[in-house]
């Protein structure tokens, strides 16, 4: 510990060079933090998913509607507690940019399957009674200053059978999703209302959401649902919530591969940069190191000093980069739903920094170990 100030002083020996290397390392770790933060944010969302929620869609693809007629048969599969249809209509309030997605569901079943959607029970009852009722997410409610009792005119993208796109709903409740920062962005309405008014795909649903009695039973229940419809004209594919998120992300792009490639290129370049600069710094300080040895510092200690210096410097610089990344990352929360930098990314980043420092400074440290005092001082 007592050698830390010495190592620290060694770092700042050439100030401008140290600052530049610091910035170079910090920008590499900024990128590392952002990319890995994004990646592990997605992985966390998959891990957070409720295993007992099952999504029953068409075996062709999730976008292909399936008939409502399957509902009673899914409900009668042993182990299924609740089932709700789900259809989604993108819609906008007042003008095109102000989107509020509409989810058409069976209110009782839906809020039973999603206990993390917090809404007073009497509001769910009100939605059941009022066919054109709507339970609004807390986010749009706050953004547009809407409250229970207001009428909410919306324009959907899908046309109604009367040829228009205009809908009018009564706000009978407000729901919030405390466990997910962006969860409360949609509006929940009665499936029946949307279904009867729409022009195309009537009496179908995008998917059914089913709740298994326990998470442990979920895989068996999913298999049983698919077996019920196997070899019928409407074969289904039942996925758990985690599977669903994973497959949707895989549809967008192979994120792991891209992130891995960029980080690989960054660190390869960085390893060379730190290595070369450490080597240069040691070369310039050979006489100083020799003086230390003359003063009684052992070979090992001189090598240790060089290593500590590198580790200290890399961890310090990486910390700045990662700190910056954790400030920037939450700015993108609206798009990706990440509230804070996952702690494991910071830990991994710092471990990376230590490895980088040791790999980059091993050659100079070896030179420090082998340094012959007489030779090194001969130039003086």
């Amino acid at each position: 510990m007592k050698y830390l100030p010495l190592a620290w002083a060694g770092i700042w020996r050439k100030r401008s060079r140290a600052v530049l290397l610091l910035l170079q390392i910090a920008s590499a770790f900024l990128l590392f933090g952002l990319l890995q933060g994004l990646n592990s944010g997605i992985k966390q969302a998959i891990a957070r998913a409720h295993a007992d929620r099952l999504y029953v869609g068409s075996s062709v693809s999730l976008g292909v509607p399936i008939p409502m007629g399957l509902l009673p048969r899914i409900r009668s599969v042993p182990g299924v507690k609740l089932v709700s249809p789900l259809i989604q209509f993108p819609s906008s309030y007042q003008k095109p940019g102000q989107g509020i997605p509409l989810d058409g569901v069976d209110p009782d079943a839906f809020f039973g399957i999603f206990p993390d959607y917090v809404v007073p029970p009497e509001q769910i009852q009100a939605l059941k009674k009022d066919r054109s009722g709507l339970i609004l997410g807390a986010i749009p409610a706050q953004r547009y200053g809407l409250k229970v009792g207001d009428r909410l005119p919306l324009q959907t993208q899908q046309p109604k059978s009367d040829g228009t796109n205009a809908w009018s709903f009564n706000i009978v409740g407000i729901f919030d999703v405390p466990s997910q920062p962006n969860g409360a962005g949609a509006a929940i309405v009665n499936y029946d209302l949307l279904n009867e008014a729409r022009l195309a795909d009537r009496d179908t649903t995008l998917l059914f959401i089913a709740l298994a009695d326990t998470p442990a039973h979920a895989p068996a229940v999913a298999a049983a649902i698919d077996k019920t419809f196997a070899n019928s004209p409407h074969e289904t594919r039942t996925q758990s919530e985690g599977d669903l998120i994973a497959s949707q992300i895989q549809r967008i792009a192979d994120i792991d591969l891209i992130v891995g490639g960029i980080i690989g290129a960054v660190f390869f370049a960085l390893l060379l940069a730190t290595g070369a600069l450490m080597m240069q710094s040691v070369r310039e300080r050979i006489p100083e190191l020799a003086v230390l040895k003359t003063l009684g510092f052992s070979d090992g200690l001189v090598m240790g000093l060089i290593l500590i210096e590198a580790v200290l410097f890399c961890v310090f610089s990486a910390g700045i980069g990662l700190g910056l990344a954790s400030i920037i990352l939450p700015q993108a929360r609206a798009q990706i739903g990440i509230t804070s930098m996952p702690i494991n990314v910071i830990v991994n980043g710092l471990i990376f920094a230590v490895v980088l420092a040791i790999a980059g400074s091993s050659v100079p440290a070896w030179r420090g170990l082998k340094l012959q005092v007489a030779e090194a001082l001969a130039d003086r």
Partner: protein, 388 residues
């Protein structure tokens, strides 16, 4: 003239001494290569996706979707609406009176990639008019699908990317077996990202009664106004009419700008890393030549050739990185077929991308050279000469 001579002399002196700074020059080269390589790879994705931004779309083709829909999946076109579109003014007609109109229906289909991962393509049903409107889509192998039969054609990239997509293979969707009968080529609005089949056959297989969109060829691009007014002014139907290029921009514009943002953001962070590396290398270059520079100043060389020579050295240091980075990207990725959000396209490393990477490398060298150049110019001659 002396100015030029001095600059040349100083630059060549700097370059000759570069071999003594092999380590730091090499590091700069690698940093620039990495920054430029990553930037061009990401831009190659964006460049490939630019076939979707509508720039090359034919001006006489228009898309019709239902009012309010922002993209095709939300749109509904009934058979009644279709017949109104077919009889609208401005629609091109064949000699026997057939309108150049094709209605389409989209079914998203999960498929398995050759690497075992799941992917997603659209099975698109086209009504018979597609032979007229999309005359640029040709069968290059096998034959065209036939109406009433469960037959599809695939694009070459789909055949390469996904399992069981060769001619003669079968695709089972909802108990129905579809046979792959041919390979098509030629771009329409979604290019290679689809399987093509007959619209009526697709609709009956998926129990649909409505189309989703219609594509129309006009007598000429100038007929657009007339055609649009006739449809939007008709109270019996609720549709939106957009030129093909506008509709592509609306459908895929967000994707292109997102790809742009990612490429330039990541590229900027990496490039600033490379700038710091380059600064370090050039500071070292100037420091190592302190006495030499001071001597030159003492014998009458002025400051500005010195500044310019350091800047040139900076740019020359990073230029090979640009070529190397672009070359690596080209070797690794050019022509690779990728799919992003269900769209299939080729990564393309164009000369334009090489230009961009050279610009970036020059900028890195210029910025990286500026501070060391000033230091060299401001070097106090007397102190520098005394230094060992």
């Amino acid at each position: 003239m002396t100015f030029l001579k001095q600059t040349v002399a100083l630059t060549s002196a700097g370059l000759r001494s570069m071999s003594e700074r092999r380590g730091s020059s090499f590091v700069t080269l690698i940093s620039v290569t990495a920054a430029v390589g990553v930037l061009t790879s990401l831009l190659a994705i964006r460049e490939g996706a630019s076939i979707f931004n509508g720039g090359n779309a034919r001006p006489d083709i228009v898309d019709v979707i239902s009012r309010g829909a922002t993209s095709t999946p939300q749109s509904v076109i009934t058979r009644d609406t279709l017949s109104v579109i077919e009889s609208a003014p401005g629609v091109k007609r064949s000699p026997d009176g057939k309108p150049y109109v094709t209605a389409t229906t989209f079914v998203s289909v999960d498929v398995i990639k050759k690497n075992g991962k799941t992917g997603n393509v659209y099975l698109v049903g086209f009504s018979p008019g597609s032979a007229l409107v999309q005359s640029n889509v040709k069968i290059v192998e096998g034959r065209q699908y036939r109406q009433g039969l469960h037959e599809v054609t695939v694009s070459e990239p789909i055949r390469k990317m996904y399992r069981n997509m060769n001619i003669g293979d079968h695709l089972v969707l909802l108990k129905t077996e579809w046979t792959i009968v041919g390979v098509f080529a030629g771009n329409d609005s979604i290019g290679d990202s689809v399987l093509r089949a007959d619209a009526d056959t697709v609709m009956s297989a998926f129990s649909r009664t409505t189309f989703q969109a219609a594509q129309v060829q006009l007598t000429s691009p100038s007929a657009f106004r007339q055609f649009k007014d006739a449809l939007t002014g008709n109270p019996a139907i609720a549709v939106e009419v957009r030129t093909l290029s506008q509709s592509m921009k609306d459908n895929f514009g967000q994707l292109t700008s997102l790809l742009d943002f990612i490429a330039y953001f990541v590229g900027t962070v990496m490039a600033s890393g490379a700038v710091f590396g380059s600064l370090n290398s050039l500071y070292a270059s100037v420091d190592a030549r302190r006495r030499e520079i001071a001597t030159l100043r003492a014998i009458g060389f002025s400051g500005s050739p010195l500044v310019i020579s350091v800047l040139i050295e900076g740019m020359l240091l990073s230029l090979p990185g640009a070529f190397l980075g672009a070359l690596i990207t080209w070797v690794l990725f050019n022509g690779n077929v990728v799919d992003v959000a269900g769209l299939i396209f080729k990564l393309t490393v164009t000369p334009h991308l090489l230009e961009i990477s050279i610009m970036w490398a020059l900028a890195i060298g210029l910025i990286g050279g500026s501070l060391p150049a000033l230091r060299a110019a401001r070097l106090p001659v007397a102190t520098a000469l005394r230094a060992n």
